[in-house]
């Protein structure tokens, strides 16, 4: 076997423009994304036709708006009920606090192996890196996440993290891990992963899961999945740590039942997830299995600052990934080019909100959208993502792009005076004639080069017909 490991793709330290170019030039990525988008689209169209999706979505939106409106109260109730059931609850203000709590716990219990099920919140806080730095081994057990962990890559989709890879690429990664020769056969690759990961479930000291929802009424954590790994992670190790974004609370079981139905419809085009694990506290007296300790880490990480603002609706998100599949940008470049754990339209909104407006990704991602609104149509809780994108752009522009603001102010002042307007247009006309050949400018200097890299610019009016 070749032992070839795929490169981390694309290099997330490169500027966004380079990352998207690199992604667009990758034919296999384009084919994988096209197939994924088409398969989701078909399943989603079928399930929407079989169910009163529009009404379900209205109800889901009402539920999420209500829950976020009462968030502080619902969180208090959730915390109280989890404690009453024997769980330990901690509120982490930021990523550092959350990671520190978990690594301290692991050290205190003498843990050596941590098994994880899929969790975007732990991607957000870079928990794996923190655990590894503390000297422990951590293994992702969701098949897609495991493949990416082995390949040294980040997820490209909230729900289907390895959707950008094809089976041959997956085979290469799995062969490099085990040193075994494997066929390019999906079932064989899945069976292989099952065998390798069973040892991890059997010997892990700590299981870490995400939380799709916390149900305030009873203090119950819902973990939704299809593979069965989340059940094993939450049932077999001695300690279960659940990491939850603070907005992921629903009031009661009536609401939970509704969200649990619309989530898989939006995410995978099915009316039920394969497994939903509903966990209320650790192992109860008289029970033979289940963790002895349950720790719930509730992560703020910038979320509470959105409450009561015109960006609050970003907190309604149930992380189904539908807006990614529906987005023409995401479908063209995939999630990795975004360089953030959250990609696609919701990622372009959340990244600046959670990381602050100053970062490089924050100032670029909100502009990675044509504002076509297909994300809003796809969203099962009706978040007006295109409006949020515009609002985030405005914020980013007022905080990060001081130079741009100065430039636009100058331009606005110049074109407010007829004399200055005429002068600038005359100068542009002469400039264009100078660089143009036969009525067309094909390569402009300076900032104009970006325009002419894609199109030609007529230098006369009416334009000469192109040859």
């Amino acid at each position: 076997m070749s032992g070839r490991r795929p490169v981390v793709y694309p290099d997330t330290t490169a500027p966004l423009r380079d990352r998207t170019r690199e992604a667009l030039a990758d034919d296999s990525l384009a084919a994988n994304l096209r197939a994924a988008g088409a398969s989701w689209g078909t399943a989603r169209a079928r399930i929407s036709a079989e169910n009163p999706f529009a009404q379900m979505r209205d109800r889901a939106r009402e539920i999420r708006r209500g829950d976020i409106g009462d968030l502080p109260e619902l969180l208090d109730r959730l915390e109280e009920r989890v404690r009453a059931a024997g769980g330990v609850v901690t509120r982490a203000a930021d990523a550092d606090a959350a990671c520190r709590y978990i690594t301290d716990l692991a050290a205190a219990r003498g843990a050596t192996l941590v098994a994880k099920s899929k969790s975007m919140a732990t991607e957000e806080i870079k928990l794996n890196e923190a655990i590894e730095e503390s000297g422990l081994r951590v293994v992702e057990t969701d098949l897609g996440e495991w493949i990416l962990q082995l390949a040294g890559q980040h997820p490209s989709h909230i729900v289907a993290p390895a959707v950008h890879l094809n089976k041959e690429q997956v085979r290469q990664v799995l062969m490099a891990e085990s040193g075994w020769e494997l066929p390019t056969d999906r079932e064989a690759l899945v069976a292989h992963a099952r065998t390798r990961l069973r040892e991890v479930f059997a010997s892990a000291d700590i299981g870490i899961s995400g939380v799709n929802f916390g149900v305030a009424e009873t203090g119950t954590i819902c973990v939704v999945e299809n593979e069965g790994n989340a059940r094993l992670v939450t049932a077999l190790p001695r300690i279960h740590v659940a990491v939850m974004g603070m907005e992921r609370v629903v009031r009661d079981w009536d609401e939970a039942a509704h969200i649990l139905q619309i989530l898989p419809m939006a995410a995978i085009g099915d009316d039920a997830a394969g497994y939903v694990n509903l966990i209320t506290g650790p192992r109860a007296p008289g029970e033979a299995d289940g963790p002895e300790e349950l720790h719930l880490v509730i992560l703020d990480g910038g979320r509470s600052a959105l409450l009561g603002t015109d960006l609050e609706e970003a907190l309604d998100c149930i992380r189904c990934g539908a807006c990614l599949y529906s987005c023409p940008m995401w479908r063209s470049v995939g999630g990795q080019a975004y360089g953030s754990p959250y990609s696609g339209p919701i990622g372009s909104v959340l990244t600046p909100l959670l990381e602050g407006m100053e970062g490089e990704r924050s100032s670029e991602l909100p502009f990675m959208s044509s504002l076509c609104g297909s994300c809003h149509d796809a969203c099962p809780v009706g978040i007006p993502l295109h409006d949020l994108l515009v609002r985030v752009r405005a914020r980013v522009t007022t905080t990060a792009h001081r130079r741009d603001r100065a430039r636009f102010r100058l331009w606005s002042r110049a074109w407010s005076s007829p004399g200055a307007y005429r002068l600038s247009v005359a100068a542009a006309r002469i400039g264009l004639r100078l660089v143009g050949r036969r009525g067309w400018a094909r390569r402009l200097p300076g900032p104009g080069a970006e325009w002419t890299s894609q199109r030609d610019l007529p230098t006369r009016w009416p334009p000469t017909p192109p040859r």
Binding site: V190, E227, R231, A235, D254, A256, A257, Y275
Partner: protein
């Protein structure tokens, strides 16, 4: 069987079939035979049963043990004095079939509601290669909302773990094509036992 129960059973099995699970409606006298036949079809050699009066009444355990040579039938959690980790096949030979008795079944979406308790381990259906669920028809409910509200409406501490199972273990992580048996049961078969 009452007409509404028949409709609910049909709904449950039809919804499960869409997710590649199988099942049948059987009467009490035929349940043990149907369980044994399914185990034989899967080639099961080692089964772990939840400790539940429904399985005892229907004589599912003895029915399985009669099936061919060397079919080892264990009952949670004592299982002939072994530790629970060995019972689950985490140590020693892998478990091939888990037999559960769901507390409720949901017809609308094709969902089983498995509740943990002293006789019901929380991972029996997932550590096994195959999952056989034995559901009395009287436990069928029309909607998920009804079933969840009923499960959590009781006084006292809510069940420590409830699992909603609606499909065999599956993954679409390779090329978005659904493949069975990722970590949990590769096959799910539901026997709906008609009321006596």
């Amino acid at each position: 069987m009452a007409a509404d129960t028949a409709a609910l059973s049909e709904g449950l099995l039809a919804a499960l079939a869409r997710r590649r699970a199988t099942g049948a409606v059987v009467d009490a006298a035929g349940a043990a035979g149907a369980a044994a036949a399914q185990a034989a079809q899967w080639g099961v050699t080692r089964s772990l049963l939840v400790d539940d009066p429904v399985l005892e009444d229907l004589a599912i355990g003895p029915g399985l043990a009669r099936d061919g040579d060397g079919h080892e039938v264990l009952v949670w959690p004592e299982g002939r004095g072994r530790g629970w980790r060995e019972l689950l096949g985490l140590e020693g030979p892998e478990l091939t079939m888990g037999v559960t008795v769901p507390r409720l079944g949901v017809a609308e979406r094709g969902t089983l509601v498995l509740e943990t308790g002293p006789g019901h381990g929380r991972s029996i259906d997932v550590v096994s290669m195959y999952h056989l669920a034995v559901l009395p028809a009287s436990r069928l409910r029309a909607t998920l909302g009804e079933a969840l509200v009923e499960t959590y409406a009781r006084d006292g501490r809510p069940p420590s773990a409830v699992s909603l199972v609606s499909a065999p273990s599956r993954t679409s992580d390779i090329e978005k094509i659904s493949t069975l048996g990722a970590h949990g049961a590769k096959g799910l078969h539901v026997l709906v036992v008609a009321d006596r």
